[in-house]
Symmetry: C2
Subunit: 334 residues, 2 copies
């Protein structure tokens, strides 16, 4: 494996000149540059990234910690973040936390500092109580909504607003007994914020808030959605609309309702949240909230890059909230 020294020797220059050529520094005569490039080609020289990292104190890699990439939502998020990072010449290393608090703290751990230039953490296990654990001295951006006002930058979704809009949409379509399917509601998190939006919409419309309509599940996936929908149908619970806090949950619900012989949207209308690719093709196609993933991912990466590049400790932390649009499809009557 050829080193800079070897190239320097072969080209009859100093290692520093080779380094300057590699890094496109000015102040290198054209003839010299060509001699060097020629030697590099002859020796099939490749920079040793480890050495460069050590010297520079940068790795050119950011970490992305998500519960699981194989999920439509996080998969899409990962795709977008990787693409955005590439535009900033950064690679992305993925850590799967399984939504566990411990693994999320691990990802945050300072030891990663020298491995990643920064970390984008899609928090699903950490809670508000852990906010202070985020006070680390390396760049971190939080994505998701379990921590607010923490000592870090935070890109948030328009959870409450969008959930209110989604529920209002069901009300406009004449639903009167609207269920919500969400995760365990603790303090401030995605489920609780979306639940608040749902409640607001009901209240504004003068609809009663029946606690039996608040359905909580362990995980926000297809399986849980399908199972709970079947249970709701069998239990004789009356409902004519379901707001699901994720599209995966909603597609599961569509499946469960089909199993129970309940026609959608005729008898029950269903709306999700995320606008995952599959939603458009599901039968019936799924109405949902589109939170502008691309903008969120781009913003998260941009924020992280800003922190990476600035040396002084940040004075204020940003909490931008993304836009959203309602996408109306067959599951709420087109």
């Amino acid at each position: 494996m050829a080193t800079i020294q070897d190239v320097a020797k072969a080209a009859g220059v100093s290692p520093m000149t080779v380094s300057n050529v590699i890094n496109d520094h000015p102040n290198v005569r054209k003839a010299t540059r060509e001699k060097v490039l020629d030697a590099m080609a002859r020796l099939d020289y490749r920079v040793n990234v480890a050495a460069r990292n050590l010297r520079k104190g940068r790795t050119g890699t950011i970490g992305l910690a998500v519960p699981e990439v194989g999920t439509p939502y996080y998969g899409r998020l990962a795709t977008t973040i990787i693409a955005a990072a590439e535009r900033h010449n950064l690679r992305v290393s993925i850590e799967q936390t399984g939504a566990s608090r411990e693994n999320e703290l691990d990802a945050l751990s300072l030891s990663r500092n020298l491995l990643y230039d920064g970390l984008i953490l899609s928090a699903a296990g950490l809670g508000q109580a852990d906010a202070e654990r985020l006070r680390v001295d390396h760049p971190v951006v939080i994505l998701g909504d379990r921590i607010f006002g923490g000592p870090v930058d935070h890109v948030a979704m328009p959870n409450q607003e969008a959930s209110r809009a989604a529920t209002q949409h069901l009300i406009e379509r004449d639903c009167r007994r609207i269920a919500i399917l969400c995760g365990a509601v603790e303090e401030v998190d995605t489920s609780s914020l979306r639940l608040t939006g749902y409640r607001q919409a009901l209240e504004e419309a003068g609809l009663p808030a029946d606690p039996a309509l608040i359905q909580q599940v362990d995980r926000l996936g297809l399986h849980e959605g399908a199972q709970r929908a079947r249970e709701m149908a069998e239990s004789g619970l009356e409902f004519d609309g379901v707001f699901c806090v994720t599209d995966s949950l909603a597609m599961g619900v569509l499946r469960g309702l089909a199993d129970a012989g309940i026609p959608v949207p005729e008898q029950v209308k269903v709306i999700g949240f995320d606008n995952v690719t599959e939603s458009e093709f599901f039968i019936p196609s799924l109405s949902t909230v589109d939170p502008d993933h691309d903008a969120m991912a781009e913003r998260a990466v941009a924020l992280l890059v800003k922190r990476i590049e600035q040396t002084e400790p940040p004075t204020r932390h940003e909490e931008p909230v993304s836009d959203f649009t309602l996408v109306i499809r067959e599951s709420t009557g087109g």
Copy 2:
């Protein structure tokens, strides 16, 4: 940021002893170890991975190059590979190639050698003609089927066998005009291998092979499946079964047939390939081939680790083929 030197000073030992403690080497007295651990805790010491990498010539990270992680198939693959890599104490950095030949060659490029200990390449752009480009002197495992007999390890799917079985299943369910939906067929790749299996099954059953039933699309996604299915229906093409070379394509087809008012499975039966999570919940649920992803991912990582750990150049290259099972669901009549 504390270094090993700082810890050594604080503990009153040599840097070497600290290193030995960190790396769990034997030959460290218990009392010494504790002194060192104590100093490490006090100084909040973290290893500098870049320095260790430089010294060891290893990074502890492998690369995973896939067309796009946001897709159900590659998302699941990534999940499984990351989990498998973790068991070997390796991190995974993801490169999205967009299925382009050039980006795949990039990922392969030796420059990555010192960045990744090895690379798992899910080839979708490279072809048989590029086989020799795979002759690099660092560990690489190919996943997918565009290159056979190349100078690298290769974990393959049971494409031909499984496609034959899938087509046979349609025949057993009384389909007589079975279409196949696949990608552009060039030389040896996933589509061509699966097409061969399809043809074999038809031939064995004495069914004619109507070229009009071979439908090729650009990308193997939901969108393409839906659009082509609608086109097929509108064109008046007669068919009573469709074998799709991916589940995404198949779910798209289910959607397209629904749009055209064609009932599945009554009038047309549909089977996919991959057994993606969504398949089970789609309406109708999708019959498909399950190629045992977990075993494939585990095998790919194990193979790569073996190459990483062995110093001599490999003598023979492995090409294990995974098992498969047919998963029969509603789209072919349960």
